[in-house]
């Protein structure tokens, strides 16, 4: 790791003093990436764990897939599909077997030799092994074993069919290949000092809280990375990142949804503004275990009381579309509508019937501007039918623990406004609402045996039409419970310099190895 301040020389001291003097009269600054050598991208957090089995945040996953090549990776573009990276070829032979052959000539840095099928076996089985306690063990929950059949060939054997394998397991860090010898020598895990890299890029510098530098790997046997260097700059606040882009300090960033209309209307000079459909889902949840929402009629009254379109328009400044469930358009199970409608008269009727007119409830939200705007519209809608909603804003640390069984709020939280992101398979969304997730992420304590049965069926059902029906029925069950009001899948705003051609997944997430000069 490099020292943040480095060793200043006399020359650099003089240069620094000179910089103060000329700053006010300096010419407008030129972007350093205009020669096409350096790409500067924003990430929303600094790195902590660069291990395919233990990464924490998406920016880490982006780096991991650039330095430890996955067998396959998402294809850039507007349709969810995949392409081979470390694999020369890979195919599903039958429901339980996937055969692969590695690209010849992939070598690990630091003299750790050539990548072989033994490394694939090690990399996948260390994630699946329950003893290693990888948070991503679920990605390989159906794995039986990886069988090595040759130096570069092998078979991934499954215990049961597993449909999400090709959407949310293989094209993710769960298929990134690390060096068995190097990881074992490093004690089995790495954090911020990756060992034996072999991807399109090598991590050559990390200055904490300042930047991570990836340098093109000259030994990568496939198509080389598009830039000599990628500088990844951690900027948590999207507004700061947008200003950084407008000032010419970044080549790519994603934007706050609320900034999208302004940026589309008046894009910064020399930039391209993109709007991508998100896979996230935003909903209002009610806690079935806590009064007054232990009464299904009061939950249904809330469903009828809320004008979902108005909430979405107000919170996202018209940039986001109305959503109708957990599953985003384009994926199996996506619905065209919900089973309840905006009917304040019906809501008043239900409340009167239950003697609940004039009740006061709390609504917990994360302290973000979009959530607050949405909550205020919900509050107004509920007030209109006779429910007083008090909005409780929480910082992220508090908010994300609210529904956990050991949280002091577990038995008092009534309503919450929530947003989850997901991978391009509906099982990634439904898994959080199964009975096992009560006390973990199923904050509504929605307990439905049929829902669980359908979730398990969806994991093994390969027929697209049947899968579509399964996930539609699951969301209908959620509607029926009265505990959920679905709002939107949001949109992702991206702004990039016209000097680059970004490699993006369909939902706008970056694929660093796919960025090129325009």
């Amino acid at each position: 790791m490099r020292q943040p301040f480095g060793q200043p020389s006399r020359r650099s001291v003089l240069a620094g003093l000179g910089a103060f003097g000329v700053a006010a009269s300096a010419m407008p600054r030129m972007a350093i990436s205009q020669d096409g050598r350096v790409l500067r991208v924003r990430s929303y957090s600094d790195l902590q764990v660069l291990d395919p089995a233990f990464w924490v945040s998406l920016p880490e996953a982006d780096i991991i897939t650039a330095i430890y090549p996955p067998l396959v990776a998402p294809m850039p573009g507007d349709v969810w599909s995949w392409k081979t990276v470390a694999a020369k070829s890979i195919e599903q032979i039958d429901d339980l077997t996937v055969a692969f052959e590695l690209l010849d000539g992939i070598t690990f840095s630091g003299g750790h030799g050539k990548m072989t099928a033994e490394d694939v076996k090690f990399s996948i089985e260390r994630i699946a092994d329950p003893d290693n306690e990888s948070p991503y063990a679920g990605d390989w929950s159906a794995l039986d074993q990886v069988e090595v059949t040759g130096e570069l060939t092998g078979l991934i054997r499954l215990k049961t069919p597993f449909v999400p394998l090709w959407t949310t397991t293989l094209p993710t860090p769960a298929s990134c290949i690390v060096s068995k010898a190097a990881f074992e020598a490093a004690g089995g895990q790495v954090t911020t000092d990756p060992v034996a890299m072999s991807g399109h890029y090598l991590l050559t510098e990390w200055v904490p809280k300042q930047r991570t530098v990836l340098t093109r790997n000259p030994d990568w046997p496939g198509e080389p990375g598009g830039f000599e260097e990628i500088h990844i700059i951690p900027i948590e606040d999207p507004a700061t990142a947008e200003l950084g882009f407008e000032a010419g300090d970044l080549d790519y960033t994603w934007t706050a949804v609320s900034s999208l209309p302004r940026l589309k209307e008046d894009p910064p000079a020399g930039s391209v503004v993109l709007e991508k459909p998100s896979l996230a889902y935003v909903w209002l949840g009610m806690n079935e275990a806590v009064a007054p929402f232990d009464n299904p009629n009061i939950r249904r009254a809330v469903q009828h009381a809320i004008d979902r379109q108005l909430v979405v328009d107000a919170a996202y400044y018209g940039a986001a579309e109305l959503g109708n469930g957990l599953v985003a358009p384009g994926l199996p199970g996506s619905r065209d509508g919900v089973t309840y409608d905006y009917d304040p008269d019906r809501a008043r009727e239900l409340l009167e019937q239950e003697g609940a007119t004039g009740i006061t409830v709390t609504l917990d939200i994360l302290n973000q501007s979009e959530r607050l705007l949405a909550a205020q519209v919900i509050q107004a809608n509920l007030a209109d039918v006779g429910i007083n909603a008090e909005i409780k804003q929480n910082d992220s640390g508090t908010f994300w623990s609210l529904g956990a069984s050991d949280s002091p709020d577990y038995d008092t939280m009534q309503m919450y406004l929530q947003r989850f992101s997901m991978q391009p398979d509906p099982s990634w969304a439904t898994v959080w609402f199964t009975p096992e997730q009560i006390g973990v992420w199923n904050w509504s304590r929605f307990d439905n045996a049929r829902f669980k049965e359908l979730h398990d069926m969806g994991l093994v059902e390969a027929d697209e039409t049947k899968r579509d029906a399964i996930y539609r029925e699951m969301q209908d069950l959620m509607d029926e419970s009265g505990s959920f009001v679905f709002f939107t899948h949001e949109v992702v705003g991206v702004v990039h310099s016209e000097d680059i051609a970004p490699g993006l997944k369909p939902n706008g997430e970056p694929l660093l190895t796919e960025f090129k000069s325009a």
Partner: protein, 314 residues
């Protein structure tokens, strides 16, 4: 003087110990399970429990405090939750950025505040004096984050004279100073007003002093009287004011580091609180507390060395 030093040092140790106790209590009063926040949604109960044990959260609270207290006095502030790096190293890595920001803020405030205060005092009652007075109050009243955002919009986004984000190329002092201009202006501008007001008031008092009248009677040039004899005395209270101001500049630095996406202890502790990275929160706050107490100790010792009345009154 030795007795005075020992007493002051003892007081500093007590202050740091009390600060540690308060810090520990505040940290553990924050709601939210640190293990759940750190590990994210996909962690199992077993993983969360393992992390709680690793963080020592399974121990009785008094044991946790004792471990923290004894560890801190031996320089062991624990390890970061996920990356497992030593907390002291992480904090010391970020500290130079914040110190540079505060130093830059002091330079801005002194470089603008003293001449403005001096100018206003010399032209007492004039339009220029009134304008300086209004400007001084205005910059005191405007929060540093507002200054930061406007400075960024004007000089970085519109004019593109200065960089908007980051701390500059590591190892390139020139670039680092270039990246320091706007954030340090945001941190220091509020203090321009304080210093200008202080210098003006002090100058007016000194200009009425008998030695200045004597100098005038001897026919010394006004410039020499003002800058050589009056200002050197009038500027002394400013030094004391800046000593107190360092603490406030530390809090302004948090905003500047977030708005300008700069590294530093302010941003470090902000991120650590959001992610419930307790060892990092306690370590960062403790290091800055010790730093502040030490600076005040040094200031007290200097004042004590210069003024025997202070030593004897303690």
């Amino acid at each position: 003087m030795l007795a005075y030093f020992v007493k002051r040092l003892g007081l500093a140790v007590i202050i740091v110990s009390v600060a540690m106790l308060m810090l520990f209590c505040m940290i553990y009063a924050i709601p939210g399970d640190p293990a759940a926040v750190a590990l994210g949604p996909r962690a199992t109960d077993a993983m969360r429990e393992a992390l709680r044990i690793k963080m020592g959260l399974d121990q009785p609270i008094w044991v946790q405090f004792w471990n923290f207290f004894t560890g801190a006095w031996t320089g062991d502030l624990g390890r970061e939750v996920l990356s497992d790096r030593p907390v002291l190293g992480v904090v010391l890595e970020q500290l130079p950025f914040t110190l540079a920001l505060i130093a830059g803020g002091i330079i801005w405030s002194v470089a603008l505040g003293i001449p403005l205060g001096c100018f206003a005092a010399i032209r007492r009652g004039s339009l220029a004096d009134r304008i300086v007075g209004i400007l001084s109050v205005a910059v005191i009243a405007v929060p540093s984050f507002v200054i930061a955002i406007y400075a960024l919009l004007i000089f970085a986004v519109q004019l593109r004279w200065l960089p908007a984000i980051g701390a500059g190329e590591p190892g390139d002092l020139g670039d680092q100073l270039f990246h320091l201009i706007l954030p340090s202006l945001a941190v220091g501008l509020g203090w321009v007003g304080y210093i200008a007001r202080m210098v003006r008031a002090s100058m007016l008092e000194v200009l009425e002093a008998s030695h200045i009248r004597t100098a005038r009677a001897f026919g010394l040039p006004d410039r020499q009287i003002t800058y050589r004899y009056a200002l050197t005395i009038a500027v002394l209270p400013t030094v004391t004011l800046l000593g107190v101001g360092i603490g406030q500049m530390l809090s302004s630095a948090v905003f500047a580091e977030i708005v300008f996406a700069r590294p530093g202890v302010g941003k470090l502790v902000y991120d650590a609180i959001l992610t419930r990275n307790f060892p990092l929160v306690t370590g960062t706050v403790l290091v800055t507390t010790v730093l502040f107490v030490m600076l005040n100790l040094v200031a007290d010792l200097i004042v004590g060395a210069l003024d025997p009345r202070v030593r004897s009154s303690f």
